[in-house]
Amino acid sequence: MFAYYMQLALRSFRRSPGLTMLMVVIMGVGVAASMTTYAVFRAVSGNPLPDKSAQLFVPQIDNLGPQNGSTHNHLPDALTYRDAMALMHARVAKRQTAIYPVLENVIPQDGTHRPFAANGYAAYADFFPMFEATFLYGNGWSDDDDQSQANVIVISQRLNQQVYGGVNSVGRALNVDGHDYRVVGVIDDWNPQPRFYDVNNSTGFGDAPDFYLSFTRAIATQTGSNGNNSCAGSIHSLAPGWDGWLRSECVWASFWVELPDASAVQRYNQFLSGYVAEQQRSGRFHWRADTKLFTLTDWLDHEGAVPPETKVSLLVAAGFLLVCLVNTVGLLLAKIMRRAGEIGVRRALGASRGAIYRQFVAEAAAVGMAGGLLGLSLTALGMLGTDLLFDPAIAKLARLTPALVLLTVFVAMLATVIAALYPAWRAAHVQPSLQLKSQ
């Protein structure tokens, strides 16, 4: 029966190719617009660490005070050095790390390549197990290395390729700005997007960092932050130089803790309240200082990690698909009712209402399938064009995955079948006698 319906659909296509083509094109374009924007949206709004995100938290401390514009919903989004160190040394969480972005010059020792700049992070040993970083060679460093400000470095696969030609470089020396560092690990393609641990400094999207080194070592070598440094809390002049900056109320250190269960979260909240109360007592804060503990996903929301453009585009494209759907209902209605005579004949020859209904829904599904295939090729084209529409770092994330291919065809077929429900119902209720009389 289905084959017969397809035959009828083909015949109907031959009779009104213009109308059918129009439906296919409209469905294809509508689906492609929605799918392209959806692919971008999904790429940027995903959970960077799905199995771990519920255990990762960001503490916030109000070192600004209400007179400098901080409110409960808007506390400084990084910590001062002294607060970060106090939280590090307290070790109340299962794991914890202070983090800040650094820019360094890597100096190849082969005598032929010029030095180049590399982006990385200064962090504590817990960074790697906490964020489930995966290694190609070697491992992260140890707490002892943090204690002794060791000159250890973990490099990316790309930097390993660039400097060592891709061989296992663990144990070899890397010259960073005139100092030798010992490579202890090479990260494979681990690059969570958005880069949740740095969304307070950057857009959160981009290539993997080139290296990671010990926070204590970076401080010892007086390496400044390559990210945001906000000194809104220092209304009075800072003490000059590096030490003055470390002692200042400038916020620039990100801080992450791993808290495996609710009781750990509660304990950490209590610890934070106790800590700020102590700071108030010692006269550092002249206000009732607030604290906050964000989960990873709440933190991404709070920092606006998903670019609003991607949401607006998705919304407008979905509206466009809705118009395409309404349009298709109208066109299908026109197409089907034009064939009232044929329906009359089929009904008179014994086809049931259900058969007519199924015939037109099947025909619509065929149109939807064609629209879906067209939509697919247009989506593929759209993927090439995302570079023009979005930040390249974001556009690069949107890919035509097998799931997206299936979804595209499915959405087009579903939309067309939904569009066909009413016209097919109208067709099934055509009066055969009326049609036969007027032939």
Binding site: Q222, L238, V312, F320, K335
Partner: protein, 407 residues
């Protein structure tokens, strides 16, 4: 033209009527908001940066081996000399950031030191006496920095400027009476500084982009002694390409202990394109959606009207036989479409406002101006009329004999 018969005919085509009205309404709602988004984005990306952009380029420089502050000061001075000797180069200066750049400093500006909250935030640009000439900034009041006012400041020191140059936008915010030159302001935690000059435009850096403090920038007479420096360079007209090639080479030849990567050398056109990439992309996407949407709706109207004409062949034939002219038939279908469009745009205007309210609420967009709704209504009605014309004209060409055909 009588409207009553049209309405009674439409009552017999409820489904088609509702579909066309709905489609017109949705189209209007989306097109109005898309046009408004395009307008906002295009306004943003056509703001003046204040620079003479065609001849300006930026070279990002990183010193190797952590030189001391004294060393950096000497290195920077010799770099500027090297740069000024490059053929085709007009002027150059060293800074921490530049308009539309990614990195930037900002500080709160207050009238007095005991004022608790800042009157306005401001972008902070390090500059010397060459900065205005290099960037091509237009000085509209006061004077430029003098060479003897330029001092050096270490990266972690507190900014303590004696004199500053502000943009007109910042001057207007601080001193609305227009007497900024000679007045004093406190920048960050510094004691009062005197405003010596006002420049017409100077955009903030992208990191500090915000509607609220558009173009509020100020220049301070310091060289910032940091590991990383931006050299802003101006080429003589037509010499940009050769300076882009020669200036970094001259710097590396003079002192190879530095990093200047390929991405660190940018003509200002690239900086502008990067800064506004998202705005341009969104405007483009909304434009494409508008065009395709209007095309889709027009095609839908043509399709449905053709269907109605084919259904009413007999009806048209009867009217023609009873004396209706071709023009009567044409105007019947055009009026019918006008009625549908009117219903559609009325509902569409409400939908447009509702959609805009959602966008304003969720994405901090601007309110939809009434002009867009009116313009959108006119566009949609005209689109409907032109879409209906071909099927209506075909209907008017039906001979009266149609009426007798199938009786």
């Amino acid at each position: 033209m009588q409207i009553r018969p049209i309405l009674s005919a439409l009552r017999h085509h409820k489904a088609g009527t509702i579909l066309i009205v709905l489609q017109i309404a949705l189209t209007l709602a989306i097109v109005c908001n898309a046009l408004s988004i395009i307008h906002q984005r295009v306004t943003r990306l056509s703001r003046p940066s204040g620079l003479d952009e065609a001849d300006v380029l930026v070279i990002q420089n990183q010193w190797i081996g952590r030189p001391s502050m004294q060393q950096v000061q000497a290195l920077m001075a010799s770099d500027l000399e090297t740069l000024r000797r490059v053929p085709g180069l007009m002027d150059a200066y060293a800074t921490n950031g530049y308009p539309l750049g990614v990195d930037g400093w900002s500080k709160g500006v207050r009238y007095t030191m005991d004022q608790q909250t800042a009157t306005s935030p401001s972008a902070i640009y390090f500059a010397d006496d060459h900065a205005l000439a290099t960037l091509g900034l237009k000085l509209i009041a006061g004077r430029n920095f003098r060479a003897d006012e330029i001092a050096a400041m270490a990266a972690r020191d507190t900014l303590l400027p004696r004199v500053v140059i502000v943009t007109k936008a910042l001057a207007d915010k601080l001193f609305p009476d227009g007497t900024a030159v000679g007045r004093q302001i406190c920048v960050g935690s510094a004691p009062p500084s005197t405003i010596v000059g006002v420049v017409e435009h100077m955009q903030t850096s992208t990191g500090t982009f915000s509607q609220a403090w558009d173009e509020r920038s100020l220049l301070v007479p310091f060289r910032l002694l940091d590991g990383s420096t931006s050299y802003v360079v101006r080429a003589r007209p037509g010499e940009l390409t050769s300076v882009l090639r020669d200036a970094p080479q001259a710097l590396i030849a003079a002192n190879p202990l530095r990093v200047i990567g390929d991405k660190d050398i940018k003509p200002y056109a690239t900086i502008r394109a990067d800064a506004y990439r998202t705005d341009r992309g969104i405007a483009l996407l909304m434009g494409i959606i508008c065009v395709v949407l209007l095309g889709t709706t027009a095609a839908g109207i043509v399709g449905l009207t053709s269907f109605w004409v084919s259904q009413r062949r007999k009806h048209i034939g009867v009217r023609r036989a009873l004396g209706a002219t071709k023009h009567d038939i044409l105007s019947y279908f055009c009026t019918e479409n006008l009625l549908l469009s009117a219903g559609g745009v009325a509902i569409g205007a409400l939908l447009a406002v509702a959609l805009n309210a959602l966008l304003v609420d969720q994405f901090e967009m601007q309110r939809l101006s009434l002009n867009y709704i009116v313009a959108g209504m006119i566009v949609v009605v005209l689109l409907g009329q032109s879409a209906v014309f071909v099927p209506a004209w075909r209907a008017s060409q039906l001979p009266p004999v149609e009426a007798t055909r199938s009786v």
